[in-house]
């Protein structure tokens, strides 16, 4: 096994993991602080990606599109929280599942109504479309490097926000003990709207990063939402640090499984059997990981301290 392949897969895993972190961060805060299961979180990602694609098409600039889309997603998230979702905080998990599922359906259909059934084109910006030579004989897509950079930057900003600011302190207090935080005078109503807008903005960032790589289409949020749930459960619900580490673990394991599993399997069995079994086992890996983590550490690997 050569080093270049390993390096490339490590970068791919890092990239995927960081994108998962963007989605999982908002999800884990909403889950941890408001105790709310939000199935519509993936819809924010979808709406963000569509807004970015549209603004990019209108203005002709990816950067304007990215900025506009992120703002739009944050606004959409805040409006959603203000009008509908806050009614569900005091309800049980089942009502939240039903309510946010209904919102998910409406978002999907609303997007289909406005943009149609076909995937919307969103291409990488001109300045980042070429490959970059990292090592002798190894070049890597510059857009992927950009994604990694943005992911790390956002993670750093989140870290500073959570550990160094008053808002972050309130969020940590809310995740550790909601009632106590309220009793100590945290303005929960404004805090919750803020958290929601923040999570939605992060979804928008993820939409702008992943949109050019995957397709911008209806339903794009659903498959990745489940993986984001896996991430926050592995990391420990309510913990940003857990979401970050969990996302990296899931990203690397999933990427490594898809690359190396076929190689391992082809040594163990006939090529035909390996071609069938390897992708399935690779897809199962992260769920197996989650089940194992839950079995041994029922609160996740890095639960919020409190």
């Amino acid at each position: 096994m050569d080093g270049i392949l390993l390096l490339e897969q490590a970068l791919n895993g890092l990239q995927y993991g960081l994108m998962l972190f963007l989605l999982a961060a908002g999800l884990t805060l909403v889950f941890g602080v408001m105790d709310m299961i939000n199935l519509a979180h993936g819809s924010l990602y979808m709406v963000g990606a569509f807004l970015i694609a549209t603004v990019t098409q209108v203005t002709g600039s990816y950067w304007l599109g990215l900025g506009g889309g992120i703002l739009g997603a944050a606004l959409f998230g805040a409006i959603l929280e203000f009008t509908l979702l806050r009614r569900f905080y005091q309800r049980d998990h089942l009502s939240q599942v039903l309510g946010t599922f209904a919102i998910l359906l409406m978002c999907n259909e609303g997007v289909r109504l406005i943009w149609g059934d076909q995937p919307v084109a969103l291409s990488t910006p001109q300045s980042l479309s070429g490959p970059v030579q990292l090592l002798e004989g190894f070049s890597y897509s510059s857009f992927s490097l950009f994604i990694i950079g943005v992911g790390l930057l956002v993670a750093l900003l989140m870290y500073l926000l959570i550990t160094r600011t008053r808002l972050g302190m309130q969020v940590r207090a809310g995740a550790a003990n909601r009632e106590m935080a309220m009793a100590m005078g945290v303005n929960v109503s404004r805090l919750f709207t803020g958290i929601f807008a923040l999570g939605a903005a992060l979804c928008g960032v993820a939409g702008g990063m992943l949109g050019p790589m995957l397709a911008v289409q209806v339903g794009m949020g659903e498959s990745i939402l489940i993986v984001a749930f896996v991430v926050i459960v592995i990391g420990g619900i309510g913990s940003i640090r857990g979401a970050f580490l969990g996302a990296l673990i899931v990203g690397v394991i999933d990427t490594a499984g898809r690359t190396f599993m076929p190689m391992v399997f082809s040594k163990l069995m006939s090529p035909e059997a390996a071609a069938n079994a390897a992708p399935a086992v690779a897809s199962i890996l992260i769920y197996l990981l989650m089940a194992t983590v839950l079995f041994f550490k029922p609160r996740g690997l890095f639960p919020p301290q409190g």
Binding site: L98, F101, L104, L105, F229, I284, Y287, A291, P298
Partner: protein, 329 residues
Amino acid sequence: MKPAISTSAAPSLLDHPLHARWAAVLLLALVAFPLLMGTNGGEFYVSLASRILIFALAASSLNLILGYGGMLSFGHAAFVGLGAYTVAIAMQSGLTSAWIVWPLAMGVAGLGALIVGAISLRTQGVYFIMITLAFAQMLYFLVVSLKTYGGEDGLSMARRSVLAPGLDLARERDFYYVTLALVTLSIWGLARLLNAHFGHVLQAIRENEVRMSAIGYPVYRYKLVAFTLAGALAGLAGALLANLGGFVSPSLMQWSQSGMLMIMVILGGVGYLYGGLMGAVFFLLMEELLSTYTIHWQLGLGAVLLLVVLVAPNGLASLFKRARGGRHV
């Protein structure tokens, strides 16, 4: 129908009467339905009714663990899928008798539920939701990888199962009556179970697990039995569903299917005997109705679901209860 065994003389909170009079009227209407539909073009509606009944069975089986056991399983479609695949695979190897294949489907799904439950029930709350989802996803990807049985494309069945001479399941009406009989039997069985000692213990565990285990009940075992039973019933629904469509595919086991079953139960009424039935009827009829008017029917469906969850927090069945002046849960 006599009220089932009860520990106290007066019906308690834990009892779930069948409402025999209403049930009889409903059953009569359901029996008459295909006759009213006639044979010219009525088959479509009869087949739709079969589909709704099958989903009512699947949702009712989920309601047993979700509503009465307090176990929020997000992987119930996996057991439906296991049942469906058992029938389709048996068909491919030449086994067509419903007397063998359907119980086999229940057995396979029940065994799957026993294994999944044995591991999952060690976790609590939200983590239980996620671990059942994880197992369902594993089974989903496992089925996708089974290229011998169609993989991602699914597996068609040459014909429907064979039940008895004179009963041709390929005829929509015959299939409908068999489905109706099985669903009726299942719901009646569930009512018996819930009003018996086992059902009372299960509901008490839902209310206060710590206390029940302090009193000395083997809580884990009770929950596991309920989980397995629900899995087996879901397997029966899967066997019927495979027969109805003549086709099975991994999409039967997708997480969105588990979500849909959960939605049906919540919609109908968590912990109400007829909750699963009402949810399935309402959800699928809504879907059918709205989709004839507009291709954007999901927008309407979403709005209706949102309305229900805001107006009737305990599901549609609770509205009836309120109207009848019954207890509030």
